[in-house]
């Protein structure tokens, strides 16, 4: 009894939208069904997804900086990349970009919007790069089938990019929600419609497993030029502007006889602790300079939360080097 009515409503919806935007030649039929009615509907979803997957995978990259890892997607031949603000965290920051085949590239973060979680990045290496088109006219509708890609849990060459399928289940101005499941490491990765067009960027998850939030492409479009020229937009919770002196490494050191700085104390759960520095280790270089008390004070005092600091240190006879992302002063 209820079914025919619902169908009618959907048909009406499809027709009216078609009139406004001007034709839906490519719009697959399964999107206008309340739910798949037969196995053939599932097969059509599968076929649409698979025919767009190779290109989508090739353009989906892993971002690595300061020990953290997120995802992103390339949207132009010369390497313009969309991702989430809480992944890049900062403007004009050097970030490693890894393709699915393991190729490593150099990227620099452009602008970000701390209120909606959108961000851009530019690959510095020379292209051309594989890229995806996006749903420029914002044609994707509630209930449409979508697929999600990302480097879930970090880069894993053997596994490759992780793909998931679902439907668009909720729409709001600056957020869209799907039931494609997400996990840490997916942040910044792409959400596609079944034409293989980018429609959103993964941002966060809700209370239940199938509650995933994405930044819609229209949100990027409305701040495009600002993002591209490197602006830090808003004062939202997805990224914090760096305040010099607020950064915290989490070590107390003394100058060692053999040169460098000997670590005498480490704060639990500090950046230094998580990077594996230990009491007794000897710091050799800070940001490329020989480590002394003076260099340490000057370098750290100039940095804020989330700023990067390159350290070289000696631990149990082994020399280690890592770029750490400073934490918050406890």
């Amino acid at each position: 009894m209820i079914k025919p009515t619902l169908k009618a409503v959907y048909l009406l919806f499809a027709l009216s939208s078609g009139l406004i935007v001007g034709g839906y030649a490519d719009r697959p039929a399964f999107n206008d069904k309340v739910a798949p009615q037969t196995l053939d509907d599932f097969r059509e979803i599968q076929q649409a997804l698979q025919s767009n997957l190779a290109r989508a995978r090739a353009a989906t990259v892993c971002l690595q900086m300061g020990g953290g890892s997120g995802s992103a997607v390339i949207i132009s031949k010369d390497g313009l990349v969309l991702t989430a603000a809480h992944v890049t965290g900062k403007v004009d920051e050097e970030i490693k970009v890894i393709m699915e085949d393991g190729r490593e590239l150099k990227g620099v973060s452009l602008g970000l919007n701390s209120e909606t979680d959108s961000a851009m990045l530019q690959i510095v290496d020379e292209g051309p790069f594989p890229y995806v088109e996006f749903d420029e006219d914002d044609t994707t509708k509630l209930g449409d089938w979508v697929f999600s890609l990302g480097h879930s849990g970090g880069f894993d060459k053997e596994r490759g990019v992780n793909v998931r399928v679902g439907r668009l289940v909720r729409q709001a101005d600056s957020t869209i929600q799907s039931d494609c499941m997400l996990i840490g490491g997916d942040s910044g990765g792409p959400l596609f419609n079944m034409a293989g067009e980018l429609i959103g960027i993964h941002s966060r998850v809700g209370a239940s497993r199938e509650e995933s939030m994405h930044v819609p492409i229209r949100e990027f479009q409305s701040h495009w030029e600002e993002l591209k020229k490197g602006s830090f937009i808003g004062e939202g919770g997805f990224a914090k502007k760096s305040v010099p002196g607020s950064g915290f490494l989490g070590v107390i050191t003394e100058e060692a006889e053999e040169g460098g700085l000997r670590i005498t104390e480490i704060w639990e759960e500090s950046v230094a602790d998580e990077a594996g520095l230990k009491v007794g280790d000897r710091i050799l270089e800070i940001a490329g300079e020989a480590a002394t008390e003076e260099v340490m004070t000057i370098k750290v005092a100039g940095l804020g939360v989330g700023d990067q600091l390159k350290l070289k240190w000696m631990s149990g006879g082994e020399t280690k080097e890592e770029t750490l992302k400073l934490g918050e002063r406890p």
Partner: protein, 332 residues
């Protein structure tokens, strides 16, 4: 907790034209309904294991012979002393454990049955990224419910596994191997090893260094017993220590993504260390793996072996299963 939030959201739906009702979502009943042709395969070739103590479902199994052989997840089965099995609409009491394979974490169980509809272990179907596959979702006593997801990543080995451990920290000091902290309830504690003991020999061979000793332990499986000779003060003592699977003694280590995945109640405790897996993204949990997976055409593709996290489920591919079952049958 999640359920309460779900209900609240539902209540708000009529007001919001911008939200898709839950029954139309990927795991909703309207989507599930279209999978009913595949449900037939699930219904007949899945087994459901119930704990006799609380009548709760604790793992699924896969019917691999018409005369009652069921393959299931070994590490979950060993957690329950007394259980019964349902296949189709029938209940089978007193199943018997035939054998197990630790490397794949599978156990073969015999029930008193005939005329069952086993999965096709000779199936040659190849599936790739994006292919729909159907698993057991929520179940009723007499009815298996299908749940769909897609193949989501490259077929591959999952390293790690759950090595057999002694249950002590090892300290190398002044060319000696000393016992450090001894974990409670471990084989080492039960055998009487104490902190400070100096390890001299294992299974009759001198222990040269820490690495060589650990290397030797990696050749052992959980349940194996090793003989240790150790020095305590002026005494030389001998111990027989039963090795335990690391995950049993220490639990799975919990990182942020594990917590996000619901932790121990949702994730399989044994979720690493498989020679080859097919990965998919169906919403399953620790208790809903073990069953068969099928394509939309009802072709058998593999057996779910671990709910790794909220986005990744591992299955043993069918081309590996035939050999595994054959080996276990021979131990009959």
């Amino acid at each position: 907790m999640n359920k309460i939030i779900g209900i609240l959201l539902l209540a708000a739906l009529p007001l919001s034209a911008n939200s898709l009702p839950s029954e139309k979502r990927k795991n909703g009943p309207m989507v599930q309904k279209a999978l009913s042709p595949v449900q037939v395969s699930l219904q007949e070739s899945s087994a459901v294991f119930y704990n006799n103590e609380n009548s709760k479902l604790f793992i699924y199994g896969t019917v691999v012979s018409d005369d009652g052989l069921i393959l299931t997840k070994a590490s979950e089965l060993e957690e329950v002393k007394d259980y019964h099995v349902r296949v189709g609409t029938k209940k089978y009491r007193a199943p018997r454990l035939v054998g197990r394979n630790d490397s794949w974490d599978v156990a073969l169980v015999q029930i008193e049955a005939e005329g069952l509809m086993p999965v096709d272990l000779e199936s040659k179907i190849e599936v790739s990224h994006g292919t729909w596959i159907v698993s057991n979702g929520a179940t009723e006593r007499r009815f298996r419910r299908p749940r769909a997801g897609i193949v989501s990543a490259n077929k591959r080995e999952i390293p790690g596994g759950s090595p057999a451990v002694l249950g002590v920290a090892l300290e190398a000091r002044d060319e000696k191997i000393l016992v450090g902290n001894v974990t409670k309830e471990s084989g080492a504690e039960k055998a009487g090893l104490k902190e400070g003991d100096e390890l001299l020999e294992v299974d009759g061979n001198g222990i040269k260094d820490r690495d060589a000793f650990i290397e030797y332990l990696t050749t052992k499986s959980s349940g194996d017993v090793i003989k240790l000779k150790a020095k305590r003060g002026d005494e030389t003592l001998e111990f027989e220590v039963e090795l335990m699977a690391r995950h049993k003694l220490y639990g799975g280590t919990q990182n942020r993504n594990d917590q996000l995945s619901g932790g121990e109640t949702q994730q399989s405790a044994r979720r690493t260390g498989f020679p080859m897996v097919l990965q998919h993204e169906t919403t399953l949990s620790r208790r809903t793996v073990g069953g068969p997976i099928f394509t939309l055409d009802g072709e058998f593709v593999g057996m779910n072996i671990a709910a790794a996290n909220r986005v990744e489920v591992f299955a043993i591919p069918v081309d590996e299963l035939a050999g595994i079952v054959e080996d276990l049958k021979n131990s009959l």
